[in-house]
Amino acid sequence: MAVEIGSSSAPKASFWRDQRNRAIMTQVVVISLFVAFVWFIVDNTIENLARLGIEPGFEFLGEIAGFMPTSPNFNLTNFDMNSSTHGDVFLLGLVNTILISFCGIVLATVVGFIVGVLRLSSNMLISFVAAIYIEGTRNVPLLLQILIWYFGVFLSLPNVRSSLDIGEVIFLNDRYLTFPVPVPEPGFMLFPISLILAIGAVVVLAKWAKKRQDATGEQFPVFWTSVGLVTVLPLLALIVTGFPVTWDIPSLQGFNFQGGTQAPAAFWALLAALTFYTGAFIAENVRAGIQAVSHGQTEAAFALGLRPGLTMRKIIIPQALRVIVPPTTSQYLNLTKNSSLAIAIGYPDLVNVFTGISLNQTGNAVEIIALTMLVYLTISLLISLFMNWYNKRIALVER
């Protein structure tokens, strides 16, 4: 009596009960609903646009804008009211968004790291103040903080004629902060070239020093050599070429300042609010990261005879960074997205000048909002890519 193995298969599920068939059917239903939804929207939009007389497409980007989205002294893309187009408005907004995001990210990181470490201070008073700062900023909407900085702080400064000054070269008033800009003369190119050379040399030096320390354990004073290289080389270049640079120093003429660059109060208010708001979140990340490194690591480092500073730099921070980096990446993304709140105080960022004014003038809502979203999508992806690369670099190398 031979038993045929394999013949006693489970009873076949009915067609409607088969998991695979169900999955396919669900997908067909979802996709057809989605397609119907998109078709409904597109159809309505085309009809509505035709009714409103709006020409769909991106031709409007080539039309003359006819408005001045920024003050003449804070004009990074040389926007000209008579000849610049909506495309130039887009470019101006983009540059301003990137500028404020970049400055914000750098400053927020600095603030966040300092406060995060202070929050863990053994000094109760200091850690208490850090806690007040963190809780106070994290629990109040950013938009409100931007308004407080703008209306409460920067607009309360003295007016232009009685500006606060720092050494007669930097002036601060209720409209802007103006500071000198260098004007290069012939032969100045040697300075940036030497600076780049110095930075390149520092990178090479740091790599070499790390390799040597990993191999032999011998240390090299990378920090001080780097400082020396970066200062001495460009200075040398300046001396050799005889300081070919003049400063355009702002001076009060009549009712306004002439010369220099004027960064508007809105810029500083936005920068301050973004920095302190995001800084508080980063501080919490830093605190969590440092606390995640077990105390045994510190003790082991001390047992090996490392000094406290070295312990921090070589043992604690590298391990803490692995915990700190991912949430901090999302804070950087948040900061970039939050810079769009500029619209509340009139800093000419992308959303304010392009999605705000250009949209109102041209009516091409679909294109403008899609373009704006695309820009933020791209910036988000770029920051994510960079931070993922960095995260991979510092990640624990496991077997």
Partner: protein, 481 residues
């Protein structure tokens, strides 16, 4: 025998610890002056306190003007904050431009929400206390409403009875130890519509204007109910669900169009804290279920098309700022809909904020789903549970429990983000504050207005974050060493 008289026969009394190791001096030394840089820090912080605290206390508490008719009353030498301004405009800050006669409507909704939330939020509140609280609330309401009929023109018997019945039902259900899920379903099914009717009033449902429409709804209601009951007897889950859902939908629409015959309060009169709360509560209520659906869709490995749609939605929404989504809701929604169909401004903002919050919530829930070991899924499968039962009974209770802190912090973010609707012109707390100081009577009182609303936002957000910490502690008892 050797003489051992030099050995003590009685125990020496313990000495007090050295002065430097106990008491205030030790505390100061170890906490504030342990090293030279800590000492410098302490002195610096104390100096900072000296600079900031006394003027602030003086401004806010010692020399403010508590009673003012206009900003002129606050403009004298040594005057502190002009709290009289807040006192004079407090209704504006809380209710916006809502009819003063109808303030009881949002207040009642808020009270009901509070009473419903407390037993859900704090599990150790005994059932008897919760149901007693509700019964008392219902009683007070009945007394107030009966006393108010005739005096308050807009309050009628239907409202009084409706709210009383709802409160009494919750009280009884809670006292009878009905399962928590049954209570929750009852509340979820009834509370939103009751609140919308109370806040807004009757909705204008066009299909209910004609006799034919009414007949259709009646058929839906009765037919749906009958189908549900019949299918239930036949143990047909699908039929039961479809039947009861149809009947429920018809009932809701009929009820909303009746709206207890209250006067209509247009949404453009909503404002202040009330609008902020409406926006955040609705967005919270929508984003949690929608976020769970999106998270499940994102992890549906057997259905790549569904997965792609969910990933696309989540990542797109998370990559762009909320303000662009609000702009989209403002400028593009009208283009997307057929001519003539128009949404209310507040509803548009609600759509935008809810979409935004759902994407973030989906990511939080996904984190929880990923933390559940595969064995749990397999165990549920091997028990023969279908997808919905598996999720409802096995996976989601565990997954959601893990991510409660994340969910609460999403709520906090959401509450703060509602302030962005002020940019598209809704009169929320922030815009009320901003515009109330442009009133010529109260010009130049930005500091007071912003300080006041910052305090309100802080109380809500800080309260939520403390609650999240409390939950975290409560749920982590199992891992404590």
């Amino acid at each position: 025998m050797t003489d051992i008289s030099y050995v003590k026969t009685e125990r020496h009394e313990s000495l007090p610890p050295p002065k430097s190791e106990v008491g205030i001096i030790h505390w100061l030394r170890s906490n504030l002056f342990s090293t030279w840089y800590n000492s410098i820090g302490t002195v610096a912080v104390l100096y900072l306190f000296y600079l900031v605290v006394p003027p602030l206390v003086d401004w806010a508490l010692i020399s403010p003007v508590w009673d003012a008719q206009s900003n002129q009353d606050c403009r004298f030498e040594g005057a502190g904050a002009c709290w009289g301004f807040i006192g004079a405009r407090i209704n504006l800050f809380f209710y916006g431009f809502y009819d003063m006669e109808n303030y009881w409507r949002p207040t009642l909704v808020g009270l009901m929400l509070l009473f419903l939330a407390i037993p859900i939020l704090f599990e150790q509140v005994p059932r008897k206390v919760a149901s007693g609280g509700f019964a008392l609330f219902a009683l007070f309401w009945a007394i107030w409403a009966i006393g108010g009929i005739g005096t308050v023109a807009s309050l009628n018997l239907a409202v009084a009875a409706g709210v009383f019945l709802f409160l009494a039902a919750v009280a009884i259900a809670s006292y009878l130890k009905a399962p928590r899920s049954a209570c929750a379903i009852a509340v979820v099914a009834a509370f939103p519509w009751l609140s919308v009717s109370l806040l807004y009033g009757p909705l204008n449902v066009e299909s209910l204007q004609s006799g034919f429409g009414i007949a259709i709804y009646a058929i839906l209601l009765i037919g749906g109910g009958a189908l549900g009951l019949w299918s239930r007897q036949r143990r047909d889950a699908l039929g039961t669900m479809v039947g009861f859902l149809l009947a429920y939908a018809a009932l809701v629409i009929i009820y909303m169009s009746w709206g207890m015959d209250l006067t209509v309060q247009p949404t453009n009169t909503f404002g202040g804290l009330m609008l902020t709360l409406v926006l955040s509560v609705v967005a919270i209520g929508v984003s949690l279920p929608l976020g769970i659906v999106l998270a499940l869709g994102r992890r549906a490995h057997t259905m790549p098309a569904v997965q792609m749609l969910c990933i696309g939605f989540i990542e797109l929404v998370r990559a762009v700022p909320l303000i662009t989504i609000l702009f989209m809701a403002q400028f593009m929604l009208p283009l997307f809909l057929p001519e003539g169909v128009n949404f209310d401004n507040v509803v548009r903002a609600l759509v935008g904020v809810s979409m935004f919050a759902s994407a973030y919530m989906a990511e939080v829930v996904r984190g929880g789903l990923q933390a559940i070991p595969k064995g749990q899924f397999e165990a549920a499968d091997s028990l023969g549970l279908n997808f919905f039962l598996k999720m409802r009974l096995i996976i989601l209770p565990q997954a959601l429990k893990i991510v409660i802190p994340g969910i609460v912090s999403t709520f906090i973010g959401l509450f703060k983000d509602t302030s962005l609707v002020s940019i598209i012109g809704l009169m929320d707390l922030l815009l009320i504050a901003k515009s109330s100081v442009t009133d010529s009577k109260w010009l130049g009182l930005e500091h007071e207005a912003y300080f006041f609303i910052a305090l309100i936002y802080f109380v809500f957000c800080f309260g939520m974050s403390r609650y999240s910490i409390y939950l975290e502690r409560k749920l982590h008892t199992g891992h404590k060493r």
